[in-house]
């Protein structure tokens, strides 16, 4: 709680409650409930990463605490990212949205260059940086949300339009999906597409357009599955996991065995048997299964409730935001974290086929944790409802760069 206290002192003190009729919003303290929930989830993560990884770490590195130490290191980096997000007014991200997305996309392209990327299990997702590895798709997710928030708030009035509000973001999404699927990273593609859809819809896109998107995605997903034999196998394994428990369905079977042996209160912290190399990726994508095994339904429900509170607070921040950009940003971040958590839990309980998505805040992974820290920081900054400071205000409006929107802007100027 010491850290919470310190953080609370960084923020301005509480002002009088906002008047419902006031047109100007009053600056308030950041959402401490959301921060507490975040910390709790991260703490659960540290404990569970240690418990789930100790056997693997001992075998690979001769040090059972290898992953624990790294996770703690990443966590401190995530704290710095969180403090930056909390203390820098979020409007700056609106102004930097385009270059940020450009850099993220560039890094995504770099991963595809042979020799640069570190590969694991047939997928090249990482850029090696000494002893650490950076996963650009995590940065892409955040910058894509920032960009969409900027784009949709800027062209708010034209969101219902087909070309300006539907086709353009879809076009960018197709580009992004192409790069992501090249890795291949099915999970991130799904999250980026899903978040775009939700943000479009929330920003006021027509039901018809959103329905169309859903229809296209609904058609694309089976195709994406069918073109890759491994995805077909995974999908079939998902449909009937106990048919071939030693083959393709091994992973999902082990996840179920792990999760199912938990009962009400679990086998006890550290007492998982499935982490004895039976369940692969026990400390990353399938940490929720180990959590279910060791802490039981009680532990599982607690983690779910924490995510529910997170989503509730996140949407509340979105509703109360002072600007459309802030609102959409908060909504996008919350939706992305909430949806990804739901998907990960669904995979761990075999409700959804295997994707390769982490459980936010809990799973082991530096890129993910640091990005999430930044995202929560931004979310908390939005919750402060501050007007942008002068120096941010003085930055040129992103239109000045006019990069992908040259024609649209020109037409707007003409119309004006």
């Amino acid at each position: 709680m010491g850290l919470l206290h310190t953080l609370s002192r960084l923020a301005p003190s509480r002002r009088p409650a906002p008047d419902a009729n006031a047109t100007m919003f009053v600056v308030q303290r950041y959402d401490r409930t959301l921060l507490a929930v975040t910390f709790l989830l991260m703490a659960v993560g540290v404990v569970m990463v240690y418990s789930a990884s100790v056997v693997t770490a001992e075998l690979r590195f001769g040090d059972g605490m290898f992953y624990l130490k790294r996770q703690l290191l990443y966590l401190s980096a995530a704290m710095i990212a969180l403090l930056v997000g909390l203390n820098v007014h979020h409007d700056i991200w609106r102004k930097l949205a385009i270059p940020f997305l450009a850099v993220a996309v560039l890094l995504l392209a770099v991963v595809l260059v042979p020799g640069v990327a570190a590969t694991a299990k047939g997928a090249s997702r990482w850029i090696s940086m000494g002893p650490f590895r950076f996963q650009p798709s995590e940065a892409v997710k955040l910058s894509w949300i920032v960009f969409l928030a900027f784009f949709l708030s800027k062209h708010q009035a034209r969101v219902p339009e087909f070309r300006a509000g539907w086709l353009r973001p879809l076009g960018l999404m197709v580009l992004l999906a192409g790069l992501l699927m090249k890795q291949p990273d099915f999970g991130s593609t799904l999250i980026c597409g899903g978040v775009m859809m939700l943000m479009l819809w929330a920003a006021g896109a027509r039901w018809l357009h959103v329905g169309g998107l859903v229809a296209i995605a609904g058609a694309l997903v089976p195709i994406a599955i069918l073109v890759e034999p491994y995805r077909v196998k995974r999908f079939l394994a998902f449909l009937s996991p106990e048919d071939d428990p030693q083959g393709v369905a091994y992973h999902i079977n082990q996840a179920l065995i792990s999760f199912g042996s938990g009962e009400w209160t679990g086998m006890g912290l550290g007492a998982s048997k499935q982490k004895l190399l039976y369940l692969p990726e026990a400390h990353t994508d399938f940490i929720f299964s180990i959590l279910g095994e060791e802490l039981g339904l009680v532990g599982v429900a607690c983690v779910m409730v924490l995510f529910a509170i997170f989503v509730w607070r996140g949407f509340r921040i979105a509703r109360q935001a002072t600007s459309s950009f802030g609102a959409l940003l908060a909504f996008g971040i919350t939706a992305e974290i909430g949806v990804q958590a739901m998907i990960n839990m669904g995979v761990a309980t075999a409700l959804l086929p295997t994707k390769g998505l982490t459980l936010p805040f809990v799973s082991y992974g530096g890129s993910s944790l640091i990005t999430l820290g930044a995202a929560v920081g931004i979310l908390l900054n939005v919750s402060r409802r501050e007007p942008p400071p002068a120096w941010v205000h003085r930055l040129p409006e992103p239109d000045a760069w006019r990069l992908p929107f040259r024609r649209a802007n020109r037409r707007k100027e003409v119309a004006a």
């Binding site: 929330a202 006021g204 199912g260 499935q274 004895l276 599982v300 949407f315 935001a321 609102a327 909504f331």
Partner: protein, 678 residues
């Protein structure tokens, strides 16, 4: 700046989006409920199913056997003990590259690379590569750092004296089950009990025991202490081996017994084998032939016959018998002596081993009396020594005896006995007429040194009167005096009583007795008037000579000459010039050297590795004992505390290189409990 799209109060186009967040919230809430229901279904409703599958793949048990008890001689010298040695195993499932691994392991473990590649290339979870390797080899294997190749310490049976008493001790197999000899027959005491440990197994097949792996003390096997004296055993083996070699004989046997208690002090046979390497020996040599083989006693039966006749009172020691000049006719068969005489006394029948005289004595007492005495001596029944495979010999009932049987039985042909039976019958004469039960095991102790079972010595029955034995003893002494057949059995300084025997073997080809194949024997006791040792010697098919007095008697003499001073029995007779000249001094050339052993185990013989020391169990010993034991073994000693040893490092049974150190912690009895509390 654009206003928040989600706020109702904000009149911004196009309409309220607050509802959409609500819709999404409801949707996520539904998913949330769905997940909780799913989790409840998996974790609570279907818990048993998954629990069972989980247990099925990680739960396992490991069955171990607590360590086998040791076998000691009567002075506490180890004849068989168990030490922990490494065994190499592989988890082929983990090993990715079978070829290079096999190429590296093959020469180290002395295994064929081709078949090793095949074994490592499978998907199995476990396979032994080589069990019981030397620590040096294990170290080299571990240095290869191959994934999935590991070592595990296993108990291995060692026979530190090598061939000493090999056929008597027998051996235990790899799994610690006795297969031959004492190891088999006393397996129920020696064998450690099996115990099962619960363990978990990881996906690579490695097992771990969360509950620990040390067996409780009460599961260890019991220690068996034999009546054998390793020193006498070694003397007997050395003398026997030398003479068998000199006589170019097929084989030989020696039994040494204490006539009063029936304690077997030595049981030697040649050819012997090394139980450490029992697989390299002929299975035929594994047998303890002293119990399992029978032979015709030949002339060695004569003192027993005459003792019976004197005991009955039908014959006096000084009775005079007609010698018939060496030829007597029984039915259609003529029985002859080597040196015929005109007349001779009863005792001279023994001294000269006269068949003619023996036949007359047998005829005097009759077949029923002779048969009942032979039964009383214990022929035709097991001796009760407690070893498997003991035979009773063949002795037909008196009803089936004809005239010729009574005659041939009088000089030891026509029935068969075991060497052990013969020894014990002679012991009855030596001890004043009591038949003893041969004793091989003195007692059995548990791991804490408490006696579990004792085997007291037992007199079975009285066979002869003391007077009869005294008179026959005089005849037996005459055998080794001037004019006797067994003069080579003399021991300088001691009076020897004994009887020679030369039994022609049955040749199955000619369906009769072979002329040149004999079993030469000598059985006697010493000192004649206060017998401490009964020694039975039998040499099979000697080729350089045939008479028991030439072939077997020197072995008796050799053993007795060394054993009597060793046992602290003082010489009573003056050493005559004749004795001194007749007995060439010869040192035991090979076998056990009691000073150099017994703790050292020369592993080099087994595995070509440097010598290692089996760490002794010092627990419970006082400091003085510890110092003595460790200096005997030239171990460096580190001592902590005072009193009695409560713990030691390394643990008993571990192997240590030479000149290594051992650390012991001592405490006084009162402090042990307190120490345990801390």
């Amino acid at each position: 700046m654009a206003r928040n799209v989600f706020r109702r109060t904000t009149a911004v186009e196009p309409g309220p989006r607050r509802g959409r967040i609500l819709i999404l919230s409801v949707f996520l809430a539904l998913a949330f409920v769905g997940l909780i229901v799913r989790a409840w279904d998996l974790q609570v409703l279907r818990h048993d199913h998954f629990q069972k599958r989980s247990a099925g793949q990680h739960e396992t048990t490991i069955t171990l056997r607590a360590s086998r008890g040791a076998i000691y001689d009567r002075n506490g010298r180890e004849l068989a003990l168990t030490a922990m040695v490494p065994s190499i195993y592989a988890v082929p499932r983990v090993l990715t590259d079978a070829g290079p691994a096999a190429a590296a392991l093959g020469p180290l473990l002395d295994l064929d690379v081709g078949s090793l590649t095949q074994r490592l290339g499978t998907d199995k979870a476990f396979t032994w590569l080589k069990r019981h390797v030397s620590p040096a080899v294990a170290k080299q294997v571990m240095a290869l750092n191959l994934p999935g190749v590991d070592q595990r310490d296993e108990p291995r049976r060692f026979y530190p004296n090598r061939t000493l008493a090999g056929p008597l001790i027998g051996f235990a197999g790899l799994d610690g089950v006795g297969l031959e000899g004492i190891e088999r027959d006393f397996d129920r005491y020696l064998q450690g009990k099996e115990y099962t440990l619960e363990a978990v197994r990881d996906a690579a097949g490695r097992k771990a025991m969360p509950g620990g792996a040390l067996p409780p003390e009460h599961l260890s096997g019991y220690d068996v202490t034999l009546t054998i004296d390793a020193r006498i055993q070694q003397l007997a083996e050395a003398a026997l081996t030398a003479q068998v070699k000199a006589m170019r004989a097929k084989s030989g046997l020696v039994v040494v017994m204490d006539p009063h208690t029936g304690d077997i002090l030595a049981m030697a046979q040649t050819p012997a084998f090394d139980p450490n390497l029992f697989r390299q020996a002929e299975p035929d040599d594994w047998r303890n032939r002293i119990l399992t083989d029978t032979l015709e006693p030949g002339s060695t039966i004569k003192p027993l016959l005459i003792a019976a006749a004197i005991d009955l009172g039908k014959v006096r020691a000084d009775s005079v018998w007609n010698g018939y000049h060496g030829r007597i006719k029984v039915g259609r068969k003529t029985i002859t002596d080597v040196h015929g005489v005109d007349q001779l006394t009863t005792l001279e029948i023994i001294q000269r081993s006269s068949n003619v005289g023996a036949v007359q004595v047998a005829q005097r007492i009759g077949k029923d009396a002779y048969y009942s005495y032979l039964r009383a001596y214990g022929f035709g029944e097991p001796t009760g020594i407690g070893l498997q495979g003991e035979v009773e010999g063949s002795l037909r009932p008196a009803k089936q005896w004809g005239l010729i049987h009574l005659a041939t039985f009088s000089y030891g042909y026509g029935f068969s006995v075991t060497p052990l039976q013969m020894t014990r019958a002679m012991a009855a004469i030596a001890n004043g007429g009591m038949l003893v039960r041969p004793r091989l095991v003195m007692h059995v102790k548990d791991a804490r040194g408490r006696i579990v079972e004792e085997f007291p010595d037992r007199h079975v029955r009285r066979v002869l009167s003391a007077q009869a034995t005294r008179e026959v003893t005089e005849g037996l002494i005459m055998v080794t005096q001037k004019g006797g057949t067994g003069r080579k059995a003399r021991v300088p300084g001691y009076e020897v009583a004994g009887k020679t025997g030369t039994a022609h073997k049955v040749d199955p080809l000619i369906r009769g007795y072979s002329k040149d194949k004999v079993k030469s024997s000598f059985v006697g006791f010493v000192p004649a008037h206060d017998p401490r040792l009964v020694i039975y010697v039998n040499v099979d098919e000697p080729r350089e000579a045939q008479y028991g007095g030439v072939v077997a008697a020197p072995i008796f003499s050799e053993i007795a000459r060394e054993a009597l001073p060793y046992m602290g029995i003082e010489a009573t007779e003056e050493v005559s010039a004749e004795d001194a000249e007749a007995e060439p001094e010869e040192e035991a050339a090979e076998g056990l050297d009691p000073q150099a052993r017994p703790w050292w185990f020369e592993e080099s013989v087994l595995a070509g590795a440097p010598s290692h020391l089996v760490v002794p169990d010092l627990r419970g010993a006082s400091l003085a004992e510890v110092v003595q034991r460790t200096s005997e073994l030239s171990l460096r000693l580190e001592v902590e505390g005072a009193g009695f040893v409560v713990s030691q490092h390394p643990k008993p049974g571990a192997l240590l290189p030479e000149n290594a150190g051992i650390a012991v912690t001592l405490a006084l009895p009162g402090q042990i409990a307190a120490g345990g509390e801390r």
